[in-house]
């Protein structure tokens, strides 16, 4: 079974994404921050990581920059969950973040997540139709 890792500090949001993925046939692990997320990513080598941008301790961007530095996790597909822009007041720009981090996540999904739209993004990222 394909493995996915869901990293989000809000447990409701984690459960939501996990439920969508499980219903779509994924085996799902969860982590509540970037530090635990990185450890689990290295140990489990998931095909897909769903990463919330805004988390205490190590946020999604920092975790992503670490993921792409490590050869073990560099090839994991990453979907970034956004929504943070509304709090800091600036629109989060994928391109600019990509330049800043050296590589862009495979996709961005905006919260609140729509299950159908999310599944479609997962299929696109995984190269399925």
């Amino acid at each position: 079974m394909r493995k996915a890792l869901v990293v989000d500090d809000e447990s409701d949001a984690r459960t939501f994404v996990s439920t969508i993925l499980k219903k779509d046939g994924w085996e799902v692990a969860e982590a509540e921050n970037g530090t635990t997320g990185l450890k689990k990513a290295k140990a489990l080598r998931p095909a897909l990581i769903v990463l919330d941008v805004q988390m205490p301790e190590k946020d999604g961007f920092l975790m992503f920059t670490d993921l792409i530095k490590d050869p073990d996790t560099r090839d994991c597909k990453v979907i970034m969950l956004t929504g943070v822009a509304d709090k800091v007041g600036i629109r989060f720009s994928g391109e600019e973040m990509g330049e800043f981090m050296g590589k862009e996540p495979d996709a961005y999904v905006e919260k609140p997540i729509d299950p159908d739209a999310f599944k479609r993004v997962v299929r696109r990222v995984m190269g399925e139709r």
Binding site: D12, T15, G83, D86, R91, E95, Y108, I113, D116
Partner: protein
């Protein structure tokens, strides 16, 4: 248009019309009223009364233009038997004096109403008033026709003269300026109110979105785990909760979208599947209304902000379903654009169509024909999103036949600027 002046001595009693001295006095009075900070309707009333009084006239009225239906409506009427005119309206054409003046943008001096082929005696018949002589002048400001003013019947029974026309013309200019000032003041107030609402909403955006995310997450989990044999009442109640949550979420997301500029986050998206999602999402609601939703796409993946375009489709399809009765059909089609690099999403319904009066206002925020059921934000948000994508929105509608909205969008976002 300049009004021709007479050479005669203004105090000459043999010449019909107002004396120059009285005209000047009246004009001074009216300009003070317009400059004073009074409520618009009060200014119009007292200005017209002052002019009518100076001209020794029996009655006066202001008719304002309703551009959407090309008619004049009585805005104010004063004099004997003026009651009952409030709701009256007349088309802008050559079938009445006021209609002619509005249509041609020229003033008219009519010494004998019943001898003039353009005079429409219907209002006399209706009110019992007997029009003899009248002066009618267009209300024009910055080249825009706002309506006309009319002054009727000298009390001494003599016809109006050129001097009366001149005074009426000057009063009309002042009244027109007063109307324009009031309109601009109202527009500024409205803009300020909107700005305050916008700031408040934008400030709460993150908090509100979190709550929505939680509701959505919780309901999805309930849905996925609802036992297939769940009690009918439970299913019914849960359906009610979900559909209302959907409405609430639509309103909130529209407000959030409208409240701030937003650069689209464009990513590859199979636009056909997106349309199928929307059909699935609204399918139950459509079925309940007896509306058939279909979709067809002739192109595949494009680069758009999927969340935002989805918002547009939910709004357009929602409106289309509301416009249809039972046996309605709503069709979403994705086609190639007229030029390469563009595609079109069209949403077509066979509903009642959009009233011409409403057509001008459909993209104005908070304009709604749905009464308490609409926020008046769906179409403004849709237009905003489409324009932020560098696209455009068009609408065609025929009463009784249906409406089609067309979103023309670039297949790729406008050239990426190198930082």
């Amino acid at each position: 248009m300049p009004v021709k002046t007479h050479r005669h001595e203004s105090e000459d009693m043999d010449v019909p019309g107002i004396s120059r001295r009285r005209a000047l006095e009246a004009l001074e009075q009216v300009s003070q009223m317009v400059a004073g900070d009074l409520e618009l309707k009060a200014v119009q009333k007292s200005a017209m009364r002052a002019a009518a009084e100076a001209m020794d006239a029996e009655a006066c009225s202001i008719l304002l233009k309703d551009a959407a239906v090309n008619t004049l409506r009585f805005h104010f009427a004063d004099g004997p038997q003026a009651n009952g005119l409030a709701a009256a309206c007349l088309p802008i054409n050559d079938q009445s004096i006021a209609g002619w003046v509005a249509g041609h943008g020229e003033p008219l001096l009519v010494p004998d109403a019943y001898a003039d082929g353009r005079f429409n005696p219907a209002y006399d018949t209706q009110t019992g008033f007997r029009t003899r002589s009248l002066v009618c002048v267009p209300l024009v400001v910055k080249g825009k026709l706002l309506g006309v003013i009319q002054i009727l019947n000298r009390r001494d029974g003599r016809p109006f003269g050129d001097e009366d026309l001149q005074l009426a013309h000057a009063v009309a200019s002042l009244v027109a300026v007063a109307i324009l000032n009031a309109e601009e003041h109202e527009a500024r107030l409205q803009a300020e109110r909107l700005a305050i609402v916008g700031q408040t909403v934008a400030g709460m955006a993150h908090c509100i979105k979190n709550i929505l995310a939680g509701l959505q997450a919780g309901s999805y989990i309930v849905d996925e785990n609802l036992p297939p044999n769940a009690d009918g009442q439970v299913r019914y109640g849960w359906g009610v909760v979900k559909s209302n949550m959907g409405f609430l979420s639509n309103i909130i997301l529209d407000m959030l979208n409208y409240s701030r500029p937003r650069k689209p986050l464009c990513q590859p998206c199979d636009v056909g599947s997106l349309c199928e999602d929307v059909v699935r999402l609204l399918g139950e609601q459509a079925a309940a209304k007896g509306v058939v939703l279909t979709t067809r796409a002739e192109i595949g993946t494009v680069s758009i902000d999927e969340t935002a375009i989805r918002r547009c489709l939910i709004n357009l399809v929602g409106n289309a379903m509301d416009a249809c009765g039972a046996n309605g059909t709503v069709r979403i089609e994705v086609t190639r654009g007229e030029s390469a690099g563009e595609f079109i999403i069209s949403v077509r319904d066979n509903g009642g169509g959009i009233e011409p009066v409403a057509m001008e206002k459909i993209f104005d925020p908070f304009f709604s024909t749905k009464g308490g059921k609409g926020t008046g934000l769906g179409l403004p948000v849709t237009k905003k999103i489409v324009e932020e994508h560098g696209g455009r929105i068009q609408v065609e509608s025929e009463l009784g036949a249906g409406t089609v909205f067309r979103l023309t969008l670039p297949t790729q976002p406008p050239a990426k600027t190198q930082a």
